[in-house]
Symmetry: C2
Subunit: 380 residues, 2 copies
């Protein structure tokens, strides 16, 4: 029997047997973290302006809640996230069964893709949009179709048309957009959804919506089965390291997460911190104001250096360096070598830009001091 058994024998000599899909995946990381870069360069960054973290920090009440929970961390977190879901529901005027709390939007996107996407299933996103979403789609064997930005905006009409064309199970749209900082009015997205195919779920990532103009959040019913919205405590709420995100959607979809999620996966202190952060509207308003100030400052620094800041509805400003991707990458590399952690868009023509997170004066002073030299180096 030289056929099956021999093959089986060979397979069994190779150690752990991965799935064909796992075997095919690269060991990539969607982003290289700042700590990794600090270890590579052998020095800490002077300003951490690359990951759209909120240097303004979390609410003092959130800090106090997390500190108070530290001694209770021997207890697993509430698997139902009951109190946080109840508060979020009240905050948004929806029901708790419209809310799923998870380990950041990244974690929730992973669960969502797992529920919907198997090998060969099609998914649509924008060329140059959030790479962690793409990572999850690839990780479950999905086939990504990408449409270009329209100017520096994601293009809902093109996204939904492509979804119809390729019969996509999911279409991803971030509003406001990362990495460009651009945005659509929520009403315009809802209008565009008339062309959303019936078999396509819209994943509307509103991670930055708390620093966008009034009217940016999509005015949709939480029970609308056509979309799921993603929100987070990682950006304006200043709790990226806590890992708390949530999805808003129709109860059937929300309940679906219970089939695959890590039920006891939430950090107990993070649950308490998010609850306190949500209740502290004053801190949110303070950070929103600081972000507005910082956006102005970053834009001014860009202009002083002959560069063009793009309008932003986020906690970062994307700066057009006025040339191509090679030049912007040189500016970025120079900034990094000077101790300023920033990032840049991945795709053409957006990669003519660098992306600078908002922060307090000290960090922006450091950026202002380094940028002229970085441009000098980049210009050779």
């Amino acid at each position: 029997m030289p056929g099956g058994p021999a093959c089986a024998y060979v397979a069994r000599m190779t150690g752990p047997r991965y799935t064909p899909l796992a075997q095919s995946l690269p060991a990539t990381v969607p982003f290289v973290g700042p700590e990794t870069q600090e270890r590579q360069r052998g020095a800490p960054f002077a300003a951490r302006l690359g990951a759209n973290e909120s240097i303004f920090g979390p609410s003092p009440h959130a800090i106090a809640a997390m500190q108070a929970t530290a001694s209770e961390i021997w207890m697993y977190g509430d698997a139902e996230n009951h109190d946080l879901r109840a508060s979020l529901a009240a905050h948004h005027g929806v029901r708790p069964d419209n809310i799923m709390v998870g380990e950041g939007i990244d974690g929730l996107l992973g669960y969502l893709v797992r529920l919907m996407v198997g090998p060969g299933d099609t998914v649509v996103t924008s060329e140059g949009a959030y790479p962690t979403f793409n990572y999850h789609v690839a990780g479950f064997g999905g086939v990504l179709h990408k449409v270009p930005y329209k100017g520096d905006h994601e293009d809902p009409a093109a996204l939904f048309a492509k979804a119809a064309e390729v019969d996509a199970k999911l279409v991803y749209l971030a509003n406001p957009d990362n990495p460009m900082g651009s945005w659509h009015r929520g009403a315009d997205i809802v209008a565009a959804m008339q062309a959303l195919p019936a078999g396509t779920l819209l994943v509307l990532d509103e991670a930055y919506v708390e620093c966008a103009p009034e009217g940016t959040a999509a005015p949709v019913d939480a029970d609308d089965p056509r979309l799921v919205r993603m929100r987070t405590f990682s950006k304006v709420y200043g709790m990226a390291g806590a890992r708390v995100g949530y999805a808003i959607g129709a109860p059937d979809l929300i309940a679906g997460f219970n089939k695959v999620r890590n039920h006891f996966g939430m950090n107990r202190a993070a649950q308490a911190g998010a609850l306190a952060a949500l209740a502290d509207g004053d801190w949110l308003a303070h950070v929103q104001s600081e972000i507005a100030t910082a956006r102005g400052r970053i834009s001014a620094i860009a202009r002083e250096n002959g560069l063009t800041p793009l309008p932003s509805a986020t906690n970062f400003v994307t700066i057009d360096c006025g040339s191509d991707g090679t030049f912007a990458k040189a500016v970025l590399d120079s900034l990094v070598s000077l101790g300023i952690f920033v990032r840049m868009p991945f795709a053409e023509p957006q990669n003519r830009c660098i992306r600078v997170s908002c922060g307090p004066s000290a960090e922006l002073d450091a950026f202002a001091a380094a940028l002229p030299r970085a441009l000098e180096i980049a210009r050779g």
Copy 2:
């Protein structure tokens, strides 16, 4: 065209399109959490002795580290878990590339199963062993084969023989065992591994090993490709709510996690807390001593009530209630109704027992006070 297109049309009318696997999964939870039970009963528990959490708490240094990190939680955690992996490597006398840190053993088991198990792939475990592992296997479409315990011990020889019989990709073995508290000498497991099939990866869950007798940890080379060991800060280290576990294994296997894990999924304060906890050997010794005392006390309480405590190498004691599963369930339900949170084994004949976590005197006093009444109620 009444064939394909019509079917496609019907499918597209049904809303979000789940994968066939996701469609088939129930929305279950491996465990009902104590907070859920408290909401159901309308009152908090007087003693939380059901989830093998460490009521003795985490190291004061770990608490301080988490508190200090609260104001820095605006930063994502280090995606590489560099410092924690380096410390764990030094602690175990292995290399950092032998270590993968993840969101608790639960999170790591999910990633591992995802890497190895697709629809129809076979996996072996013990009847009544850790249900969250089973949840992950079912969640990726794997087919579970279960072997009975031998007495109240997991049976490595039977597990490995079954793995050979069904050509399993994974075989799960907890040592010490949960829910029975029993254990094997590590050397005996290594000896039994001579019968481990070449194509089967042993998942050796050593979550409780820090409270087991010397010699319980498997004396294997970290580079041994035949197994991966799982460890956690949730049990003896008292940080269940922080969600920090780690895998020890061969570098190829460890690197595989990078294909699918949530790279920025770790809570930054939890990383700092685990680092401090690992460095505090005095606290570990203190908790180990408290656990030994509590095991003695729980055993004494059981005997005073005519029940039989089983030997334990864990931070809980499994108590034989002397009858069948129906009786033990009645005892458990009565304890719960009296405000004592405990759990019990799921499978016959282990379900003749209840399982009581170690804790300080106050909690065990509450258990001691409730048990006679609970037995009275259970006996009708």
